[in-house]
């Protein structure tokens, strides 16, 4: 009897042992974090405006200058570009015989001319200004190879600031005969009024200065000639007659 009571007692004691546990709680529902563009209903999609491409002025457009030569009984227009804060480059025939030289920037601001210098060895001229120029174009160290892409920026026919593109075709003698050095021939279209326009390579550096055209070939003074001029100030002449004649 004793052997029965003991197990029954133990059994009752163990059966009486019970504890409490906590049932797990599912995580609270979360608002969908799916990106709006993947939402097929489109109800949560926020309309996103596509930005319009900016078409402001390029760096070389800001460096371009419009030159008006009042003299020789007429008004002539040409182009130019800044190479430093107070100096810009144009053609000798653009400034020749000027009784008054009027310069304006890409945005129409007027720039007063302090002095001019016509270059002897090519159809180039340097002009010093009283006011600072808005932007400059860095010069390439050497002439472009044949086939290289070039961009011309100027005021053809004295009209709007225009950018044209082409390639270097060859190097040839100066058709005007003012220089004995080989000139750069390219096919970036220019017009009267584009004289003095910069020719820029794909790196944004100056490789030539446009000055003449013949059919679909357009001539430019290579940058190495400009380097030569800038390193030898004695090659300058202080004045040029009408048409750029020295």
């Amino acid at each position: 009897m004793k052997s029965v009571i003991m197990p029954i007692g133990l059994l009752l004691c163990t059966v009486g042992l019970a504890g409490c546990g906590l049932a797990p709680v599912p995580p609270p529902s979360v608002v969908s974090t799916r990106p709006a563009e993947n939402d097929p209903s489109g109800t949560t999609a926020t309309p996103v405006a596509q930005p319009v491409a900016s078409t402001g002025f390029t760096a070389y457009e800001r460096a371009a200058l419009r030159v008006r030569n009042v003299g020789c009984g007429e008004v002539a227009v040409g182009s130019g570009f800044a190479i430093s804060d107070h100096v810009f480059v144009t053609n000798r025939h653009v400034i020749g015989g000027a009784a008054l030289l009027q310069v304006s920037t890409y945005d129409g601001h007027d720039i007063e001319v302090a002095a001019t210098g016509a270059v002897v060895i090519a159809d180039l001229a340097l002009v010093w200004t009283k006011q600072p120029l808005p932007a400059t174009i860095p010069l390439a160290t050497e002439n472009p190879v044949v086939g290289a892409n070039v961009t011309a920026v100027g005021f053809p026919l004295g009209g709007r600031l225009t950018t044209t593109r082409g390639k270097v075709l060859k190097y040839a003698p100066d058709p005007v005969g003012w220089s004995s050095l080989p000139m750069l021939v390219n096919d970036a279209p220019i017009e009267h009024g584009s004289s003095g326009s910069p020719l820029i390579n794909e790196a944004g550096r100056l490789v030539g200065v446009a000055y003449a055209g013949e059919g679909n070939s357009y001539y430019a003074v290579p940058v190495e000639v400009l380097h030569q001029v800038l390193s030898n100030p004695s090659d300058y002449s202080r004045s040029a007659a009408c048409g750029g004649v020295l």
Partner: protein, 282 residues
């Protein structure tokens, strides 16, 4: 022999008793588990349920103990039966009668009267019970730890869900702001492009106006020059007319000089006038 017969009967009864208790305890384990599952399913999320750890743990413990005792008793019963059979054989060894059942439960039998009576072996029971208790205690501690850990994880999950909901709301707000800003940027870019085109246009208009002004200025200078030369021409002619009116008092040479001067100045005036007319005519 009568004593041996009684021992066998007692062994059989004890074995049955152990088997019954083992089965009862197995039933307790099953019932405890069933009841625990029932309360678990009935509990709401986050609510409490009853864990019948006594029925499950204790039932398991006693089921094992009684099972072990059942098999030991069964083993002793077999040995006793074999010993009884050997007693009936010639040359068989006389076996001591079983006076105490507990001795049989000590994992051995008394093979010979000459051997000393070994003490009953209870340590395996004690070790088994201790091990089972330790296992139960470990299970209980593990359960408590897992319950506590689950609560912590639940709290952490709740916080994370709240944070995620907050961040999602913030993200949606920022996305809406970005959309507005992009719209404004688009508008500004359009305005900028319009302004740039306007600057180009105005700059060109100003340049053209400047060119026209310069042309007019040039024409004005030319016109003034023509006027000046015409004045000179007229003056020269008037002088010559004075010579002609007083030709008797005048010298011929002076009169001729005056005539040539008038001719030169008038020719220059005419040339410049023609140039001006040509210029004006485009």
């Amino acid at each position: 022999m009568v004593g041996d017969q009684g021992g066998v009967v007692r062994l059989e009864r004890a074995a049955r008793g152990y088997a019954v208790w083992a089965l009862i305890n197995v039933g307790l384990v099953v019932a405890g588990g069933f009841l625990t599952l029932a309360t678990y399913n009935a509990a709401s999320p986050g609510g409490q349920y009853v864990l019948f750890i006594g029925a499950i743990g204790g039932g398991l413990l006693f089921a094992i103990i009684n099972g072990v005792r059942y098999f030991l008793t069964l083993s002793a019963l077999i040995r006793v039966t074999e010993a009884a059979e050997r007693l009936g054989e010639p040359g068989g060894t006389k076996t001591k009668s079983w006076g105490n059942l507990d001795e049989l439960q000590g994992f051995g039998s008394q093979e010979s009267t000459s051997e000393p009576q070994r003490p009953s072996r209870r340590w395996p029971y004690i070790v088994s019970i201790v091990i089972l208790c330790l296992i139960s205690a470990g299970l209980g501690a593990g359960f408590a730890y897992s319950t506590n850990s689950a609560q912590e994880w639940r709290a952490s999950a709740t916080r994370t869900s709240d944070d995620l909901a907050t961040m999602t709301k913030q993200r949606d707000g920022l996305k809406a702001q970005a959309g507005d800003l992009q719209t404004k940027l688009s508008d500004m870019t359009t305005q900028f492009n319009t302004a740039t085109d306007r600057i180009r246009s105005l700059s060109n208009e100003k340049a053209q106006a400047g060119d026209q002004a310069a042309s007019f200025a040039t024409l004005l200078v030319m016109s003034q020059q023509v006027t000046k030369e015409m004045d000179l021409c007229i003056t020269d002619q008037q002088n010559f007319m004075s010579y002609l009116a007083n030709y008797r008092a005048s010298e011929y040479t002076s009169a001729m000089n005056s005539a040539r001067q008038a001719d030169t100045d008038c020719n220059r005036a005419r040339a410049d006038s023609n140039a001006l007319s040509k210029k004006l005519g485009g």
